[in-house]
């Protein structure tokens, strides 16, 4: 009983984990990469506010600042919902609204509904042993732009309007509430269409309005502890583009760029129960980009509220 409950909490938290503001583009929505599952017929609805900002960025490998951007800020409100179809199959949807701005220069920020995401998460393996519980997961996901936003005015664009498909493997180890989770994923990104019909990339002119953004490999490791009333966790995450060019000297970023970054962070979560067995949660997360290429060195925080309950009432 206890373990099912803990799973629910942990899962929902991590599903709302990393935040869009950390990339230069603000284009990278989070993906579910924790090591737990929602119980059958349980649903959690999460509403978060996130704020990522940077005043330094990497122009290729060169770290710099730019007073014509000053401090760049990307904020978003995200609705996320996860549901246990069975105890071994969960479905997750995410819906972000993003707005960007900078306090230097004269450029206007942009805002809008970004890309909706849908994930199916499946747990093929779970082994309880005397030295803890081992689990393995596979997650498949897609994301699709939900509005016709402008994708190539980075960093102000709210995303790059690529349709994506991802596959992810997760390994989890849990011992008396202490857990260690490792995840690695591959995101394939489809071509995007921009408003211009020619653009410069990789040292040449592309005579088309189609742009191919690079595919991305991500990896993360999480170490945490959870009990009935609170949860704390520390994590490191990385994102590595599998191709792409660098931002040129004094140029703006572009969707073809090789955007890489490594960040570290921590989160905390507190739960409040109702008599029915449902509960409300407040959560907070903080993260910092440590190193990168063609991205902003963002500091990001997230505040959120979550409501978890069993569809059709409490379990007898």
């Amino acid at each position: 009983m206890k373990s099912t409950f803990l799973r629910r909490i942990l899962f929902c938290l991590l599903a709302t984990g990393a935040i869009t503001g950390s990339a230069l583009s603000g284009a990278f929505a989070q993906t579910p990469n924790d090591g737990l599952m929602m119980g059958k017929r349980y649903i959690c609805n999460v509403l978060t506010y996130s704020n990522g900002s940077w005043s330094g960025y990497w122009e290729g490998p060169l770290k710099r600042s730019n007073p014509n951007i000053g401090t760049f800020t990307s904020q978003n409100v995200m609705f996320m919902s996860a549901y246990g179809v069975t105890s071994r199959l969960n479905v997750i949807v995410g819906l972000p609204y993003i707005w960007t701005k900078s306090d230097g220069g004269h450029m206007a920020g942009q805002r809008g509904l970004q890309d909706g995401s849908l994930f199916l998460k499946w747990q093929p393996l779970k082994a309880k042993t005397k030295v803890g519980t081992f689990s393995a997961f596979a997650v498949g996901g897609i994301s699709v732009p939900l509005s016709n936003y402008v994708p190539d005015m980075l960093p102000f664009s709210i995303g790059i309007r690529s349709k994506t498909a991802s596959l992810r493997g997760i390994l989890n180890y849990n011992l008396n509430g202490f857990y260690l989770t490792g995840a690695a994923g591959y995101t394939a990104r489809g071509p995007i269409t921009i408003d211009r019909d020619a653009y410069q990339a990789e040292g040449r002119i592309y005579d088309t309005n189609k742009v191919m953004p690079p595919n991305v490999v991500d990896a993360s490791a999480r170490l945490g502890f959870v009990n009935k009333h609170l949860q704390i966790e520390g994590f490191v995450e990385s994102m590595t583009s599998q191709s792409g060019d660098d931002i040129r000297r004094q140029d703006a970023p572009f969707p073809t760029n090789k955007m890489d970054m490594t960040s570290a962070g921590a989160m905390a979560k507190v739960h409040f129960f109702t008599k029915s067995g449902a509960f409300f949660t407040v959560l907070g997360q903080y993260s910092q980009v440590l190193s990168g290429r063609n991205v902003g060195q963002a500091t990001a925080y997230t505040l959120g509220a979550q409501h978890t309950f069993r569809v059709g009432g409490a379990k007898n």
Binding site: W122, G140, D195, R196, R204, N215, R249
Partner: protein, 519 residues
């Protein structure tokens, strides 16, 4: 039960995953390809057409070629056959690439260079200044040149003029000597490209390759090795294709180089070296204030960047005199505080708050900002595409580009003269609530460069391609208005620029009517 369910789920997720990944994994982007075509006409009188820099088509002497019956020529034919028998795939690809048209390809290369070099210098914290790109050290940071719109306009103009003047001379000698293409001389020689009745000596491809490379090496001194390699490949592609014998391309190479030297002499004395004379700026502001200016333009960049090429307005014109430039200069723009200015400001306040997706797309389509091949490049592409669409021969294609790009450079010179004559502020400076979605260039507002370039290009192209006129005018108007949607120009800037651009190009139209080419 549970096991079966899990197995099915594995298969299902695996399948869906594979389909999704394979769809998104196709990383190829398709672009238009350009094949060789047979020109609609050969323009046999091309050797009599009016040149820009050469005084006549015979300024440069070309030796009479050996007869096709000579042993020397027969040996050259044999060389082509030997070469054709052992062509590599790379050589075949080079033949296909250059057969799209030398004039077309070299303008394409120029647009690529323009975009690659369109990067403003980065502020140097140590010296407290924006460094100026150094032609003697072109590969250092900042790279030389910063190919901003005025610089790009001049690159395209000189490239087109060099090609055109060299080809007028080429046509003169082609029809003087009348030595046919090797495929016409020897039917057993199978050329890889279409062979016309255009005389082959001197080779128009060699002329265009060398003249183009010489101009671009002057304009982009950091690209010498690459341009030399492209030039050699272009020249050789004619031998690989069996389209010219070696003496055709040798004569073309010499002619192209000699003509380019004349054009380069003009470029070195056209005043571009003084275009960035920042010491003139204070006097320009004083003079503008004496004419009634109340708010002088200030750089929107931090730290303030010196204005882009304040003395470009004094650069030598192609199609009219400095006095005529002064006469073309639009009247003063609406003053700040006037009801006309208030109307324009309110329009921009509206777009800053709310513009339609279509307006955003138009602003982006014509943004042509940092990192792009600039508005002159945008119109260069339009002109170059029309030469292919209407199947121009090399000479006529060069003429179209020369008429268009000289009009565009003249537009740039006139526009810069106007900008620094009136020295007016950009919308954001007048009202900081008017933020831009596309980025404001670093020079005064009145008149709009995009509008002037576009008005000029559309006007001369409409003359050359009358059936495209409605489309060209609509494009120019759209380019002009894109600057309003992007909130970086007042409507008055754009309307005056578009009209002035048309007036500027009227001189190119007049030239086209009298240069011997008919139309």
């Amino acid at each position: 039960m549970k096991t079966i369910f899990s197995r099915k789920m594995t298969q299902w997720i695996g399948l869906v995953g594979l389909v999704l990944l394979s769809n998104a994994c196709d990383k190829s982007i398709s672009e238009p390809t350009y094949d060789a075509y047979t020109p609609t006409a050969l323009d046999a009188n091309g050797g009599t057409w009016k040149t820009y820099v050469l005084t006549s088509a015979t300024d440069i002497e070309v030796m009479e070629p050996k007869a096709t019956t000579s042993t020397e020529y027969q040996a050259e034919l044999q060389e082509l056959k030997t070469t054709a028998a052992q062509l590599s795939q790379t050589q075949r690809e080079a033949v296909t690439f250059w057969s799209a048209g030398g004039v077309y390809r070299w303008h394409e290369i120029a647009r690529t260079l323009a975009a690659n070099y369109n990067l403003p210098p980065v502020f140097n914290e140590a010296t407290g200044k924006y460094p100026v790109p150094d032609a003697a050290n072109p590969k250092a940071d900042p790279k030389f040149p910063f190919t901003n719109p005025p610089y790009a306009a001049r690159v395209f103009a000189y490239l087109a003029v060099a090609q055109y003047d060299a080809l007028v001379a080429t046509w003169n000698y082609k029809y003087k000597f009348n030595r046919m293409a090797p495929g016409k001389v020897d039917a057993s020689l199978k050329s890889l490209v279409p062979v016309s009745d255009l005389p082959a000596y001197p080779s128009e491809d060699a002329v265009v390759a060398v003249a183009s490379a010489e101009i671009l090496k002057l304009m982009f001194p950091g690209e010498v090795e690459k341009l030399d390699a492209q030039c050699v490949e272009h020249v050789n592609s004619r031998l690989w294709a069996g389209a010219n014998v070696r003496s055709d391309v040798d004569a073309g190479t010499a002619l192209g180089k000699a003509v380019a030297a004349r054009i380069i002499a003009r470029a070195k004395a056209d005043g571009m070296g003084a275009a960035n004379n920042q010491t003139l700026v204070a006097g320009m502001i004083t003079a503008a204030k004496e004419r009634g200016l109340t708010m002088e333009w200030k750089s929107l960049e931090t730290p303030a960047r010196p204005p882009m090429l304040p003395n470009y307005g004094a650069v030598k014109l192609w199609n009219f005199s400095t006095a005529e430039r002064n006469a073309l200069r639009p009247v003063a723009p609406p003053a700040i505080g006037s009801s006309e200015m208030e109307k324009d400001l309110n329009e921009l306040r509206g777009f800053a708050k709310n513009s339609t997706r279509e307006q955003k797309a138009i602003a982006s389509y014509w943004s042509d900002g940092v990192g792009s091949y600039t508005p002159p490049g945008h119109w260069n592409r339009a002109a170059a595409r029309l030469t292919r669409q209407y199947k121009h021969n090399e000479l006529r294609a060069a003429r179209t580009l020369a008429l268009t790009m000289t009009a565009v450079e003249d537009a740039g010179v006139c526009c810069w003269d106007t900008k620094f004559y009136y020295f007016t502020a950009r919308p954001f400076q007048v009202d900081p609530s008017i933020r831009s979605t596309i980025g404001t260039p670093n020079f005064p507002g009145y008149t709009s460069g995009h509008s002037t370039f576009s008005g000029a290009a559309a006007t001369i192209l409409s003359h050359l391609f009358p059936s495209e006129s409605a489309d060209l005018d609509a494009k120019a108007k759209e380019a002009s208005e894109s600057r309003i949607y992007g909130c970086i120009h007042f409507r008055a800037d754009c309307e005056a620029g578009l009209k002035c651009g048309a007036n500027i190009a009227a001189y190119a139209v007049k030239r086209a009517q009298a240069d011997g080419a008919t139309n």
